[in-house]
Amino acid sequence: MHRTGELYGQFQTLEQQKESSTLGMWIFLVTEVLFFGGMFLTYAINRHEYFTAFGVGSNTLDITLGTVNTIVLIMSSFTMAMAVWSAQTGKKKLVPLFLILTLTLGCVFLGIKFVEYKQKFDHHLVPGRSFDVWYRVNHPTPADDPKAIALEREELEKATVSTNDPDINSHAQLYFSLYFAMTGLHALHMIVGAGLIIWLIRVSLRGRFTPQYNTPVEIVGLYWHFVDIVWIYLFPLLYLIDRHR
């Protein structure tokens, strides 16, 4: 199909094109909800079944890094919204600026996530043969706070003995399988989003987005907000299960 300016040949008008693209993205997001939904269901059932082990697993996560990441991601949603707003109101110079900010914040998030993954790897908390929920307690490094280690040992012993879950290692492994599957797929979506934003930056530097034509910014924005919302659910479900003690 031929393309005239911004109008692709299969459409009659720009409005029709915009309506189609936006509806398409919303439907795609619905499929994403169901995609993540399968994992959330698996999480919910297993957490119900093995609450103690999930609490133990959750408490090994670094809540500071998690919180910082949540703030970073919310900020990136804000800058993305600003990019959409700039495109819609014709502030052509601001569009790439906000997009670059969004991309940077997204990369910060992924960087912090990488640090967290590395920690889990060091602590033998990656599911597999060498998974050992006791590893950190039994092999503390000089950098570790002995008080925190003692507390963790106490918690693990209590979980094993008093709540009668002798297979806490297996069940904590289930938690970490879900942790890596869910945050991993979320990170994959972030990487796809980052790729889309890089494409948008290139187009916006040529000043192509105008109040009449800004659908790409808008629908990538929708996608980016969706990925943020997934994290807004993941954060309490994975980090904050059993912190109140």
Binding site: G38, M39, I45, N46, P127, S177
Partner: protein, 556 residues
């Protein structure tokens, strides 16, 4: 007013989508929905034959009680690979990706689907997924059953499960993108005057199908991904030895895979809703009820999945609810069957090949649907669960229903797709052969199942041999019924009689344009000012009320 049969005076249009440009690149990089539909036609036919070869081997093996052909392990692989090829790579894409892709834009007066590039992408995704699965088939095969139940699939199976699971995971996105494209197209691309209740019922059926594709497929995608991760990295999501829950896998799997049956049957119902009024020369009876029943089937279909698990371990109350909901699906299905029969009533029926397929569909779907009620019944299901009764039931729906609809639809729109007519006498013969072969293959299986022959077993007690031999004999007739259309349809692409824009004549908008249509489907954007299936007020069709219709093929 023209009452004479379409004379041999028709010529192919000068410019159409097939001669718009030439060369392999113009096909592999096309964004024309019609060309993509043909790409799909070739690829799903390929997978149909792959699946068909496995089916043939199964039927030959079951000629004797101890198995005539292969080892028990190989037999497990045969029925698994038959199911995977047929369900994921033939039945699910068949009508939507071939006929839906080709016809929805011209039916609603659009130049193309809303996202032509995504349409092409979905074909490539299908091909990539297909390659993974073929790789699995050719390097050790697959022996888990098409259902991939864990922990067999994730731990114990020694066959090539991982590439197969990844292939089906990838292929899922092809289905999702096709569904998404259809929904958006039907919402935003309709021509002026093409209101929702002037949409052809084929489009309604595809809208409902697309809802299922979009809402169901992501769930099976994540489920198979988790099962694949479990196998690759020894995780325990669905492995009871590690605290996981295998029944959760079954729930998630069937949450898609039951509605997937409606992905197969709803488009076929759409095809039938087009064929019946055309060859009964009557407006369809109860248009809005047929449209609404498609949506109702799609919606209710999402709430019946656990009827596959009545004996797997679910609470009695859950089973009661799922049994009741499964019965409910019978209502919209029956609405369709009754409305088709009412359309036939006092119609001016002509027995063209598409009509024979459509009538065959109604009969076979009715048997398949009614036996579904047997299976939805909690007490009876315990007796016939996992027997050949189930096999016969779903083959009546999927082969007797979906494939009959698909082949019937191919005949019906063949003149539109290629611009040429197929040989009528031969295709009527093929339709009858198909009907006889199908019933001979699968009806004995109802009896076998009721007598207690379990599915997926490589051997059986000697007293079941007669029925098994009948079934295998039927399968060979059935195979002829598929090979015949394959041959004469290919032949007719070059040598068939030129059809003209509307050989039947039918009322749909797609018949208003050239056959084959130009790349942009219509030379000028059409304006729709008529009601659907209205044979009475359409002088352009060349019909006189009450007058018998001249057959499209003249004297042949």
């Amino acid at each position: 007013m023209n009452q004479t049969p379409p004379s041999p005076g028709f010529h192919l249009p000068r410019d159409h989508y097939l001669n718009a440009n030439y060369g392999i690149k113009s096909w592999l990089l096309t964004t024309d929905h019609k060309r993509i539909a043909l790409l799909y036609l070739i690829s799903v036919t390929f997978f149909f034959f792959i699946g068909g070869i496995f089916a043939t081997m199964i039927r030959i093996h079951l000629l004797t009680p101890n198995g005539a052909l292969v080892t028990p392990e190989t037999y497990n692989k045969l029925f698994t690979m038959h199911g995977v090829a047929m369900i994921f790579f033939f039945l699910i894409p068949s009508i939507p990706a071939v006929l839906g892709n080709f016809l929805i834009p011209p039916m609603i007066g659009a130049k193309d689907l809303a996202f032509p590039k995504i349409n092409l992408l979905s074909w490539y995704i299908y091909i990539i997924g297909g390659c993974f699965v073929l790789y699995s088939f050719s390097t050790g095969g697959l022996d888990t059953g098409w259902t991939f139940y864990t922990p067999l699939s994730s731990i114990y199976s020694n066959s090539a499960v991982t590439p197969a699971v990844l292939g089906i995971f990838i292929n899922g996105f092809s289905s999702i993108l096709t569904g998404l494209n259809f929904i958006v197209t039907i919402h935003t691309m309709r021509a002026p005057g093409m209101t929702w209740f002037r949409l052809p019922l084929f489009a309604w059926a595809h809208y409902a199908t697309s809802l299922v594709m979009v809402l169901g497929t992501p769930v099976v995608a994540i489920t198979l991904l988790l099962a694949g991760l479990e196998r690759m990295f020894h995780l325990g999501f669905f492995n009871p030895a590690m605290g996981g829950d295998p029944i959760l896998f079954q729930h998630l799997f069937w949450f898609y895979s039951h509605p997937a049956v409606y992905i197969m049957i709803l488009p076929a119902m759409g095809v039938i809703s087009e064929i019946i009024p055309t060859f009964a020369r009557k407006p369809i009876f109860g248009y809005s009820f047929i449209a609404a029943s498609s949506i109702a089937i799609a919606v209710i279909g999402f709430f019946v999945w656990a009827h596959h698990m009545f004996v797997t371990g679910e609470s009695t109350y859950a089973a009661l609810a799922f049994s009741f909901l499964s019965y409910l699906v019978a209502i919209p299905s029956a609405v369709k069957v009754f409305n088709w029969t009412s359309t036939l009533y006092k119609g001016s029926i002509s027995w063209d090949a598409p009509m024979l397929y459509a009538l065959g569909f109604i009969g076979l779907f009715t048997i398949g649907g009614l036996t579904g009620l047997f299976l939805a019944c909690l007490g009876l299901d315990i007796h016939i669960h996992d027997t050949y009764f189930v096999i016969a039931h779903f083959h009546y729906i999927m082969v007797g229903g979906a494939v009959m609809g698909y082949v019937g639809g191919l005949h019906f729109w063949w003149p539109k797709i290629t611009g040429r007519l197929y040989p009528e006498a031969l295709s009527r013969f093929a339709a009858v052969i198909l009907f006889i072969g199908f019933n001979l293959t699968f009806f004995p299986q109802f009896i076998l199942g009721y007598l207690g022959m379990p599915r997926r077993y490589h051997s059986y007690p000697p007293e079941f041999q007669v029925l098994n031999v009948l079934s295998t004999a039927g399968a060979s007739i059935l195979a002829l019924g598929y090979l015949l259309p394959m041959c004469y349809l290919t032949w007719s692409m070059r040598y068939g009689k030129v059809a003209g824009p509307n050989p039947w004549p039918a009322t749909g908008l797609e018949w208003k344009t050239d056959s084959p249509p130009p790349t942009e489907n219509f030379h000028v954007t059409p304006v729709v000012d008529w009601e659907p299936y209205d044979f009475l007020n359409r002088p352009d069709l060349g019909l006189v009320a009450g007058a018998p219709l001249a057959p499209a093929h003249g004297d042949d």
